[in-house]
């Protein structure tokens, strides 16, 4: 709770502080809880509905934490043209890894691409993608 108030205070005086606050909260706790929404709403003089509306609008904010490791796999057109769908079809399910679709990592000439944490991986084939998933599990 104290940490949450610190985050809110660190953005005091900024114009339109809600998104930066939510990013920090998401990074700190792995999700934006009901409790956090209430506190942020109070601090910014917004209704809880306003803050909830923003949290639910953006793909990056989650109301519940994700227990699994996340691999973001680009499924946009350029990676499709380079065969990502065949990789997805051949991917073995791993209960400890969530393979999430993203639409474009901006590495469109060397796909298929994935991002794990802040690290990007290009020129994936079945073996490389499988190894990435295994490394996360």
């Amino acid at each position: 709770m104290e940490r949450l108030n610190q985050i809110i205070a660190s953005h005091a005086g900024r114009e339109g502080p809600l998104l930066p606050i939510l990013h920090d909260v998401q990074a700190e706790y792995g999700h934006v809880s009901e409790e956090a929404i209430r506190t942020i709403a109070g601090a910014l003089n917004l209704s809880r509905a306003d803050v909830h509306g923003v949290v639910s609008f953006y793909h990056d904010f989650h109301e519940a934490a994700e227990a699994r490791a996340v691999l973001k796999l680009c499924r946009a057109e350029a990676c499709q043209a380079r065969g990502v769908e065949a990789l997805v079809a051949g991917l073995r399910d791993n209960p400890r890894v969530k393979v999430e679709a993203v639409y474009c990592l901006g590495l469109c000439s060397v796909g298929p691409n994935a991002m794990v944490g802040g690290k990007v991986h290009a020129r994936l084939d079945a073996a490389k993608l499988g190894a990435l998933v295994e490394a996360l599990a």
């Binding site: 998104l19 509306g53 609008f57 793909h59 057109e77 350029a78 990676c79 639409y103 901006g106 469109c108």
Partner: protein, 505 residues
């Protein structure tokens, strides 16, 4: 000691540049991390004394240093991919360390801002107007006119907003500017601020670009004393594609849901926090320092028709030589795909090229004669958008691509207007039925006697296709922004050029 230059942009890193760099360091070389040349099929690309080697991995290091590498490509500047380009915006690509103020200044940096300060705001706008620079985000609106509107608006506060929410597949030029030459973008924003009388600027970067965010934040800090009194600030998006639309982006910056606003009022008059705001794409702002330093006439000399200057074109997807190719407008689509791009990476025939990202039309090889120009593409039911090209080989299923376009719109719709929010979902269902060749009988509700206007007869495949065309018309003309309004481009172009994929005999 041998100086080895290796890019540190996200694409090079994804291809293993760090590993190659550490191998060169272990071999006793001095490694300089520079921006990317944009020859992506050669990444990790290494430059030693002007000579290029790529794509390398750490096992190649010994051979490279011994002068016996089979991966030598000769002088990089003489490589046909580079030699054929007209690099204005990317003049420094591959040559400077992205966060070095020294390198930036030594390669012509800050000259544009100095010139703008010397001649003043009005003359700066006149230069930008004369250069013919048009918005590089896709709409192609003349930048000078937008700036004039903001400059003439009376307000206590004005803003410069840089749209760096580069969400379109096949586009990476914004990312390359931010990761490779961030000071150029800041300089462009500072010039815009000076021209219109703004003091604060925001760069709105998508969260999928962590490397660009880090570089821009560092560059903003490092250059604060140079661009003062202008203050730039980096803001991070949160995974919403629609926030690349300017009014949605403004709402997001204000801390709201990224819903599209109706226009008018134009953002130039009532933009961020209701104040006059210049919203320009990264490439638009990044072109400005060159224009100011070299003069509007030099920029306007290059180009085709009403499309002046150069366009950083991005070759992506199933293409042999993918990367960034900056050239004057007017080059044909076929030259780009076949000559520069070398055809498909898979070696199979090209079936389709999508130009302009997920909202751009699919073009068959029969349209390879089209010159790269805003008007020429518009006249052929297409758009150049942010100049990303996605090449597909003959294994592509075009009805699947049409379905993807509709589904993408359904997933990313902000929900504000009906044609986009509901039309896209109905569109996916419709394309699914067309793909299954299932036809459709009246459902339970439609069959009710009180549903006087509902169609009772079964729909044939032909009826379904007419319905899809009809739906696309509605979305095109009834949507608030380009997401719903342009989704029909990929759908209808796929339908028109590859009817066999939609069940036509």
């Amino acid at each position: 000691m041998t100086v080895v230059r290796i890019s540190d942009d996200a694409l090079a890193l994804a291809c293993g540049a760090d590993d190659v760099a550490s191998a060169f360091e272990a071999a006793g070389c001095t490694v300089e991390r520079v921006s990317s040349w944009g020859m992506h099929w050669l990444e990790p690309l290494v430059e030693i004394g002007g000579q290029g080697f790529g794509p390398l991995d750490r096992n190649d290091v010994t051979a490279v240093l011994a002068g016996a590498s089979a991966k030598a490509i000769g002088r990089i500047e003489d490589h046909p991919f580079i030699a054929k380009q007209q690099r204005f915006t990317f003049a420094r690509a591959g040559k400077t360390r992205p966060l070095s103020l020294e390198d930036y200044a030594a390669h012509g940096g800050w000259q544009g801002l100095a010139r703008a300060r010397e001649i003043g705001g009005a003359a700066t706008i006149a230069q930008v107007t004369e250069s013919g620079l048009r918005g590089r985000g896709g709409a192609g609106f003349p930048a000078g006119i937008k700036w004039t509107t903001v400059a003439n608006a009376a307000a206590d506060q004005k803003y410069i907003v840089c749209n760096a929410d580069e969400g379109d597949s096949a586009t990476f030029a914004d990312r390359m500017v931010m990761e490779g030459d961030p000071f150029m973008l800041i300089e462009g924003m500072a010039i815009a601020a000076l021209a219109v009388g703004a003091h604060h600027g925001y760069v709105y970067i998508r969260s999928e670009y962590p490397h660009a965010i880090a570089k821009m934040e560092a560059a903003v800090r490092a250059s604060a004393h140079i661009v003062a009194p202008f203050v730039a600030e980096v803001r991070v998006g949160a995974g919403a594609y629609v926030c690349g639309e300017e009014t949605s982006l403004l709402n997001s910056l204000e801390g709201k849901r990224g819903e599209v606003r109706a226009k008018p009022p134009l953002p130039a008059l009532e933009g961020l926090f209701g104040k006059p705001t210049v919203v320009n794409n990264v490439l638009t702002l990044a072109a400005v320092p060159w224009i100011m330093a070299n003069g509007a006439a030099a920029y306007a000399q290059v180009g085709f028709g009403r499309s002046k200057g150069t366009m950083p074109i991005q070759l992506a997807g199933n293409v042999k030589f993918g990367g960034l190719f900056e050239v004057g407008f007017g080059v044909t689509l076929g030259e780009l795909v076949m000559t520069v791009g070398g055809g498909t990476a898979s070696g199979r025939p090209v079936r389709a090229v999508q130009v302009g990202g997920p909202l751009g039309a699919y073009h068959p090889p029969a349209e390879f004669h089209l010159p790269f120009d805003y008007e020429a593409f518009a006249a052929n039911d297409g758009l150049i958008g942010h100049a990303g090209l996605t090449v597909f080989d003959d294994s592509a299923d075009m009805s699947a691509q049409a379905r993807f376009a509709m589904n993408f719109c359904a997933v990313e719709s902000c929900g504000k207007c009906t044609p986009c929010r509901i039309g896209s979902t109905r569109g996916v269902e419709l394309i699914d039925r067309i793909r299954a060749r299932s036809g459709r009988a009246a459902d339970k509700v439609e069959a009710l006697p009180q549903m006087h206007n509902a169609r009772k007869a079964e729909r044939t495949l032909g009826d379904e296709i007419t319905l899809l065309e009809d739906l696309c018309e509605t979305m095109k003309f009834g949507s608030l922004c380009a997401l719903g309004g342009f989704t029909p481009y990929p759908v209808l172009s796929a339908l028109r050029h590859w009817p066999e994929d939609f069940g036509a005999q």
